[in-house]
């Protein structure tokens, strides 16, 4: 396996050491190989293709700015990396270069109780922040599957989705403003207007939304001011078995339209995963209960949660739902972040033996009316893939409301696929990429979006991003070229190399 530094001259390494300090410039094999992948599907057999040349761990925005200026001077790629838990490939280096790991930028800088915000460095984890806020009676309610591992900088980079966003909003709503080091090294603060804790403004362009979901292509977030909210008095999780998926689909729609303000999350699992345990939520449901399941979670003050709980339980009972009991409901809900604690699933080979599988989650946003058809098509694509290649296994589909502050409208259609990564080869990887492309096209054809919270950076889906965005993709390319004239920030991602092709430049002039 090739491990030599490909493109970092000694003089540039020396400059990086004077910016970050000797101890925080890493060139050893372990430091670089461990930052080649994130937690999305990865062609393990081609690991060496994605190894950065050098890893740097800056501590301040000024250091990040100096690193980016150096990259421009030496024409070196820069790839930012936060928790490394992304299910898209934003932090996977495609051309070596400098990997900027932000984990040392982990300081909680300020809690502003009067204005209900916290200002943090981008390497702060959401769970750590909520633990810190407990004495103040506050929480930071951004809760992805990687809640205990991912970092606020990565949540900005991916424009992620939160499991409790139906009540509290998603990162784009919860991050009030943030500081960005631009691809030129300049430092700006973006938000709604100028004040760092202003939630809504009509001053100028709303640049926060341009940089939210930048996937490392437009710079590096170095500080964020986030919304903090009152810690709920209580929560009520409840899981119900339903007769079949369509019954679950209908009741999901009914619950969404009840207008319950304390509803943090409602979801529908199809039950396939319950054929055998996969070290994930729902493992508390015993064998024999492998049926589709609808669940919800409410948060708020007790009077509200009790009242809303009665209402939703009535809806589910009238729809034929069977309550799975307090133990299942409580522990399933409490284990909702286990996906990242237990990195390998226990899949099954065709001979029935257990195999270690990476559990991939594909995350389209789909209008409610299209969910049954899309689910059918998704399942067909993955079942056909797994028939041809034993290294893939259809696990399940899960559906959650996609929007912020209320349920209903469009939904996150999650498709779970087990991948036996150690056995991947060029042929099976090509089949996976084709399946990703086919899934993305289905989402677009049904009025949806390829990804609701992970990003569109992976092989396969990135090819069809222009199909989803239409002419807006041309605008994206112009923005990229304007802000990053030397294409140093995460080059090769999201098809944005096209912004630097001479044909595109000529069209523009």
């Amino acid at each position: 396996m090739a491990t030599a530094l490909r493109s970092i001259p000694d003089a540039a390494l020396g400059e990086l050491r004077s910016i970050c300090g000797e101890a925080f410039v890493l060139t050893d094999r372990s430091a670089r190989f461990n930052r080649a992948r994130v937690s999305t599907a990865f062609p393990v057999h081609r690991w060496a293709d994605f190894v950065p040349d050098v890893v740097v761990l800056p501590a301040t925005a000024a250091e990040v700015s100096d690193i980016v200026r150096l990259a421009n001077a030496w024409s070196l790629p820069v790839v930012p990396r936060a928790g490394g838990t992304g299910i898209s490939d934003g932090a996977r280096p495609l051309r070596g270069g400098i990997l900027v790991d932000i984990k040392r930028m982990d300081q909680i800088l300020e809690v502003d109780l009067a204005n209900r915000t916290a200002t943090v460095q981008p390497g702060v984890n959401m769970r750590v922040l909520t633990d810190y806020l407990r004495p103040f009676g506050l929480i930071y309610p951004d809760q992805p599957g990687s809640y205990s591992q991912s970092l606020i900088g990565g949540r900005i980079g991916t424009n992620g989705w939160s499991m409790v966003g139906g009540r509290y909003g998603h990162p784009r709503d919860l991050v009030v403003s943030f500081e960005m080091v631009l691809p030129t090294g300049d430092i700006v603060r973006v938000g709604d207007g100028g004040g760092k804790s202003i939630r809504k403004s009509s001053s100028g362009y709303q640049l926060k939304h341009l940089f939210m979901g930048h996937q490392g292509t437009l710079g590096i977030a170095t500080e964020a001011t986030v919304e903090v909210v009152t810690r709920p008095e209580c929560e009520l999780p409840a899981y119900f078995a339903v007769e079949d998926w369509m019954a679950g689909y209908r009741v999901l729609g009914t619950i969404a339209h009840e207008g319950v303000a304390t509803l943090s999350r409602v979801f529908l699992y199809d039950g396939w995963r319950l054929e055998y345990p996969l070290s994930e939520p729902l493992d508390f449901i015993s064998p024999g209960q492998a049926v589709p399941c609808v669940g919800f979670a409410l948060h708020g003050i007790e009077e509200e949660v009790r009242g809303a709980g009665k209402r939703l339980m009535r809806v589910l009972s009238q729809a034929g739902g069977r309550y799975l009991g307090d133990e299942v409901s409580r522990f399933e809900w409490a284990s909702r972040y286990d996906r990242y604690i237990q990195p390998l699933h226990l899949g099954r080979a065709r001979d029935g033996q257990v195999i270690p599988m990476y559990g991939h989650a594909q995350d389209a946003a789909i209008p409610y009316s299209e969910l049954p058809t899309v689910r059918q098509k998704y399942e067909q694509i993955v079942r056909s893939l797994s028939e041809r290649h034993e290294v893939f296994l259809f696990e399940e589909t899960a559906v959650h409301p996609n929007g912020a502050f209320r349920a209903g409208g469009d939904y996150n259609m999650e498709l779970r696929v087990g991948i036996w990564e150690q056995r991947l080869n060029d042929e099976s990887w090509a089949a996976w990429v084709k399946a990703k492309r086919d899934l993305a096209i289905v989402a677009i054809e049904h009025g949806g979006s390829i990804s609701n919270g992970h990003g569109t950076v992976c092989d396969g889906e990135v090819d069809v991003l222009p199909l989803e965005l239409g002419h807006a993709f041309e605008v994206m390319k112009k923005i990229k070229r304007t802000l990053d004239p030397n294409n140093v920030m995460n080059p090769g991602k999201m098809g944005l190399d096209a912004a630097y092709e001479s044909e595109f430049r000529d069209d523009d002039t």
Binding site: P277, M313, S329, A334, V354
Partner: protein, 91 residues
Amino acid sequence: MRGWLLADQITPEPTRVANGWVMRRDGVLEVDPELMRTYVRQQDMPRWDFERIVTARQDYLQSMETHMADRVLSGAEILQQVTREAADADR
């Protein structure tokens, strides 16, 4: 502190509860060791280690229950109320 016990060094015997599943302790489901022979080998684990892992898991889940909110309400209790009210309305 509990001293050394021979029983703690022995792997608890599994009971088959369904196709592909066994239990060594009430409520803790495990993959049948027969299915872990070829690609992933299951290890024998002394009872003390098994108990340690199960307890740590329960501690974690309990900590998660009070991480975001102060307390968890009982769905069973609320459902009972709903059922009672529906029965009263029928009478």
